[in-house]
């Protein structure tokens, strides 16, 4: 197998990971602010269904308007579900796990029930679109820039989130809120309000992820169309150490592993292909168990000073300190 054969496979893998990237970036934002939105599975499904339903209904008005409306609708749905999560956990102080979990199941059921009339109907999809200059870059051109607008937007999203987190004041405060909300409060931030906002943003992005499935990478709608991706997104956020770049790379890793499934199937017939679908997740758990252990902490401490910070940033799996905890803002 040479580069020419691998490249299209990798390119497809990267492209098809795009919805996951949106979902994971959104959840990373919310979790960095201290809120777990466990409803990902339901949000993505409901977003997928809603966007397809809207786009299909408005198909007559043209591809672009119907697609835009679809994505907008998905974002609204995602934000609405996130609003319930925020209300239930930040204001009503119920468990984030409980509220999120119920919404995951409810969202899934709602998407199935309400989307019944849209099952297995063809609908508008995002057109492919190669970026003129960049597509001719030596290696990266074929790999990254021969897809469609959504993929390029996801690249932009990764960059934006990264810059926001690490280069802006607001992003720094976001990270601060997730670590020590009472200290952030002492510095003049309205912690609860900011957590609401970031949770809603995260939810909207998850909705968009759903739309990215039904309007592009897994076009159409069917019962439980995007099943499993919500849970995987939650896991990837943890696996990626709540760092937008690592999270995005983990999404691509996941996509690549999935692609390898079809390739490996021919090479290793003994292992059924379905296992490969689940294998990435199993691998990630293993890696997480290994990297969370005390062992790694000790090894890291032995490294010389500037190196240990970079290394721990690379491997770190410590959640934001205040994640999931109730904050009393008097």
């Amino acid at each position: 197998m040479d580069i020419a054969q691998i490249t299209p496979i990798l390119a497809t893998a990267i492209a098809t990971s795009t919805p996951l990237v949106f979902a994971c970036l959104g959840e990373t934002i919310a979790e960095r602010a201290g809120v777990i939105n466990l409803s990902a599975e339901g949000t993505i499904l409901l977003g997928a269904m809603t966007s397809f339903a809207i786009a299909k209904t408005l198909e007559g008005s043209g591809t672009v308007p119907s697609l835009l409306a679809g994505f907008a609708g998905a974002a609204v749905v995602g934000a609405a579900i996130a609003l319930i999560v925020a209300l239930g956990t930040l204001t009503l102080k119920q468990s984030q796990v409980a509220i999120g979990f119920v919404l995951a199941l409810l969202g899934a059921s709602l998407s199935s029930f309400l989307g019944n009339s849209f099952v297995r109907i063809p609908g508008p999809t995002v057109p492919s679109f190669k970026i003129p200059g960049l597509q001719n870059l030596p290696l990266l051109g074929n790999l990254l820039f021969q897809s469609d607008l959504l993929v390029y937007l996801s690249y932009a999203a990764i960059a934006l989130v990264w810059v926001y987190f690490y280069r802006t004041r607001a992003g720094l405060m976001l990270r601060a809120i997730g670590e020590q909300p009472n200290a952030a409060f002492a510095r003049g931030t309205n912690v609860v309000k900011m957590r609401y906002i970031y949770t809603l943003i995260g939810g909207a992005m998850m909705g968009i992820a759903g739309a990215a499935f039904s309007l592009d990478f897994k076009a159409g709608w069917s019962h439980m169309h995007t099943a499993g991706y919500g849970w995987i997104a939650l896991a990837i956020v943890i696996f990626g150490g709540w760092n937008p770049l690592r999270v995005a790379l983990s999404c691509y890793l996941f996509g690549i592993l999935q692609s390898l499934a079809s390739v490996a199937q021919s090479s290793i017939p003994a292992i059924p292909s379905q296992v490969f679908n689940v294998a990435p997740f199993m691998l990630m758990i293993l890696l997480l168990v290994l990297t969370s252990s005390e062992w790694v902490e000790r090894v890291l401490k032995l490294l010389p000073s500037p190196l240990d910070r970079t290394a721990s940033e690379l491997i770190r799996s410590t959640p934001p300190a205040a994640l999931g905890k109730v904050f009393e803002q008097d």
Binding site: V163, R167, T168, R169, A170, L172, M173, R175, A176, E179, Q180, N182, A183, A184, F185, A186, R187, G188, T189, N190, P306, R309, T318, A321, D330
Partner: protein
């Protein structure tokens, strides 16, 4: 900026944390706020810095009345507070901590902030590594960072809440130098403390609080005795305790050192006798709690040995401690000692050893009724513990102690209790001592310490004095030692 607090009052439930407290700080001065735990100092400065809303009274800045409802308001009015526990972000770097909270939008100009940080650092001769993770800094360094940060926000009034707990001597010197410099630059500084020597060294004027009220004001220099009198009052009660101490040792500690992330307690050697009561005096956070937790088996000593009634207990599990009749009564009853949502009867069932799998509810009810009678608990067997009053919760805790009780360790045994309960509790405890129970208790009520202890150990910043017989102690001397003048009066026991 001239800061005036006029007749500030604040109640929490029944407690008058601040009762018409007034305070005036002129620009360019350092004003000390002195008092023991619970005197109301923290409440007052939290009102000024926007963390707590006052019930009545006024805050005036340069003669104008202002409303400060949130910390953001306080910052806007150039009032900054250095909290007792560092309120920063441990996983972030020094530079990032410096930047968080600065106004301004958009991208962070790291270089500019770095230059500002360095400028301020040199101005005060602080030495901070800008890329270090804050979690790795000492408390003193974190304080320095916070001070620099507040100054960079342009504060003209700086409140320091118990800043000298947990910092080294050289850091304290640097801190005081910085404060004096700031005062000379025209800033107003409020220095909250319980340490006499710090207040006398740093402040120009001092206001003393006790039980929520202003007891007096003084200009520095001022003799110790005057301040101690204001802080503690002259309620010297004669020892009420009958002699219960026996000759057999009950608790033997050797070369004990306990390391926690908040402080290190160096105790050395200690022997407590059967039937004896040892009072642990000193400000909270000075190590008493660590000693009690260690003797109870809830905290491991880093070095040293502990023997109870001759039995080596150093490496035993907590359940063994309970088996050996060692009981622990925490101060925060609903957090550490009783389970909300469970009734008195449930607790009795939990504490009754039983061979069978099934709870004999009839028998348990009988035992509970008996316990309620014996301990005079105002509640029914099925009353949930969170509905009991403080006094009755304490009685319930007493009812749950191991029997027989060899060693009892108590944090603030009568905190929040009404007079009747206080007397009753101590009556019970003394009765226990007469049958051989040894008691170690910590309290911030000096009267309680004086009245019920046979010997007293004074704690200050992780160091403990030798046990002093209560007959050798006066309230003044005790106050002085608590105020930090440990080294003046007695050699602390330190491990070599």
């Amino acid at each position: 900026m001239k800061v005036e607090l006029k007749d500030i009052s604040k109640r929490f439930g029944n407690v008058h944390a601040n009762d018409r407290v007034s305070l005036t700080v002129e620009a360019g001065t350092i004003h000390g706020l002195l008092g023991e735990n619970g005197a109301g100092k923290s409440t007052l400065v939290k009102v000024l810095s926007g963390f707590i809303s006052r019930d009545s009274g006024a805050v005036l800045l340069d003669g104008k009345s202002v409303e400060i409802k949130t910390p953001a308001d306080a910052i806007a009015r150039k009032i900054g507070m250095l909290h007792q526990d560092p309120l920063d972000f441990p996983p972030l770097s020094v530079l990032d901590n410096f930047i968080v909270g600065k106004t301004g939008t958009g991208l962070i100009d790291r270089q500019r902030s770095l230059r500002q940080l360095q400028q301020l650092s040199t101005h005060f001769n602080f030495n901070l590594n800008h890329y270090e993770t804050v979690a790795n800094l000492t408390v003193g360094e974190r304080q320095q960072l916070e001070i620099l940060r507040l100054l960079s926000l342009g504060v003209s009034t700086l409140i320091l809440d118990e800043p000298t707990t947990g910092i080294s001597a050289s850091q304290k010197t640097a801190l005081f130098k910085a404060m004096k410099q700031l005062a000379s630059e025209g800033k107003s500084i409020i220095f909250v403390s319980h340490k006499l020597e710090d207040v006398e060294e740093l402040c120009d004027r001092v206001t003393v609080l006790r039980h929520g009220k202003v007891r007096g004001r003084a200009e520095i220099p001022c003799p110790d005795a005057v301040l101690i009198d204001l802080m503690f009052g002259r309620e010297l009660a004669p020892p009420l305790k009958p002699q219960t101490r026996q000759s057999e040792p009950a608790l033997q500690l050797e070369k004990i050192r306990v390391d926690t992330d908040r402080l290190t307690l160096r105790l050395g050697d200690l022997t407590a006798y059967k039937g004896e009561v040892i009072g642990l005096a000193g400000l909270e956070g000075s190590g008493q709690q660590q000693l009690l937790l260690m003797c109870a088996g809830l905290l491991r000593a880093s070095t040293g040995q502990i023997r109870v009634n001759g039995v080596e207990m150093t490496h035993e599990s907590y359940s063994k401690y309970l088996d050996r009749g060692i009981g622990y009564l925490p101060a925060d009853r609903l957090k550490d000692g009783l389970v909300s949502g469970l009734s008195i009867q449930d607790h009795v069932a939990l504490r009754t050893p039983s061979r069978s799998l099934f709870v004999d509810w009839k028998e348990t009810l009988k035992q509970t009724v008996q316990a309620i009678a014996t301990f005079n608990i105002r509640g029914k067997p099925n009353t949930l513990v969170e509905r009991l009053s403080g006094g009755n919760q304490q009685r319930t805790q007493l009812a749950l102690l191991p029997v027989p009780l060899n060693l009892l360790l108590m944090e603030h045994p009568t905190r929040g209790l009404d007079i009747e309960s206080v007397l009753w509790v101590w009556q019970q405890l003394i009765a226990r001592c007469q049958t051989g129970t040894t008691i170690l208790f910590m309290s911030s009520d000096l009267d309680e310490i004086m009245r019920y202890s046979d010997r007293v150990i004074v704690f200050s910043g992780g160091q403990a004095s030798h046990p002093i017989a209560v007959s050798d102690l006066t309230a003044d001397r005790l106050g002085q030692m608590i105020g930090g003048r440990l080294s003046d009066t007695l050699e602390p026991s330190v491990i070599s």
